[in-house]
């Protein structure tokens, strides 16, 4: 155990899943909000890359919605003021703030029950696991032929 959190994210284009990731974070977070904030920053970077890729194919996206299940982390991204509780967070993680202010990304709250990326961060019980994989678009081969 080294007390590092796992980031998990998934990107959907329309209803199709196009990119996903599950990775142990590089640094120890002091709070869950901080861990979520770091994960949101990663997801933001990937969204921007996908946005640029899609632009090459002629698809213009305006504000990319990003769903996060932690209100404190959302508030951290909206508040560009230095705060004693956040002064230790490395500058590279504040990347997301800038993009939210510029309007590239829009961060929104989603309840943990509806969080699709939960599949990539923890082992889940059967019911929830099956629900999430169906929502992410995994179907049994036998059902489509």
């Amino acid at each position: 155990m080294n007390r590092k959190s796992t980031s998990g994210r998934c990107h959907l284009l329309g209803s199709s899943l196009i990119s996903w990731n599950s990775k142990k974070q590089a640094c120890v977070a002091l709070s869950t909000a901080e861990a979520e904030y770091i994960a949101a920053g990663d997801a933001c970077a990937q969204s921007i890359w996908l946005k640029h890729q899609l632009m090459d194919y002629g698809v213009k996206l305006d504000k990319v919605p990003l769903y996060c299940d932690n209100i404190s982390a959302i508030n951290l991204t909206k508040n560009p003021i230095q705060h004693s509780k956040t002064k230790h967070i490395e500058i590279r993680h504040h990347f997301i703030r800038d993009h939210i202010q510029k309007g590239d990304i829009e961060i929104m709250f989603v309840k943990i029950e509806n969080q699709l990326a939960d599949l990539f961060t923890k082992p889940l019980a059967r019911d929830r696991f099956n629900k999430l994989i169906t929502e992410l678009g995994i179907v049994d081969m036998k059902n489509i032929c």
Partner: protein, 117 residues
């Protein structure tokens, strides 16, 4: 570039193009995988990893065949290109590559791959 007809197979990914959508699967790949690691008749599991499973470095003498373990991990990582449901479990197992864990916990991943997607 030449037109070679409808895409059906690419880098181990089987592509099925139907009216209501395009489906990717790797069933051939994971059947080969099960054969390669001699696990054709293993038990199926509903989820790739147990919720109460705490993995740790195996300090006991149970030495794992690290070449086989790494081969298994590598193959499973390729499988995650279509099976994102095993991503978390596989990534968890990859963290123990240098020391090895009891193989028991990573077996479940390949068992789940037996199920068709």
């Amino acid at each position: 570039m030449s037109m070679m007809g409808e895409l059906t197979y690419f880098l181990g990914l089987q592509v099925k193009q139907l009216k209501h959508g395009t489906f990717l699967s790797q069933s051939k790949y994971y059947f080969d995988l099960l054969k390669k690691f001699k696990m054709e008749d293993c038990k199926e599991a509903a989820t790739p990893i147990a919720t109460n499973c705490l993995m740790d470095v195996d300090e006991a003498e149970n030495q794992v065949d690290s070449t086989k373990y790494r081969g298994l991990i590598g193959s499973l990582l390729y499988l995650t290109t279509s099976r994102l449901d095993i991503q978390f479990g596989v990534c968890l197992c990859t963290r123990f590559q240098s020391k090895g864990i009891t193989l028991q916990s990573c077996k479940t991943d390949s068992q789940v791959s037996e199920r068709d997607n």
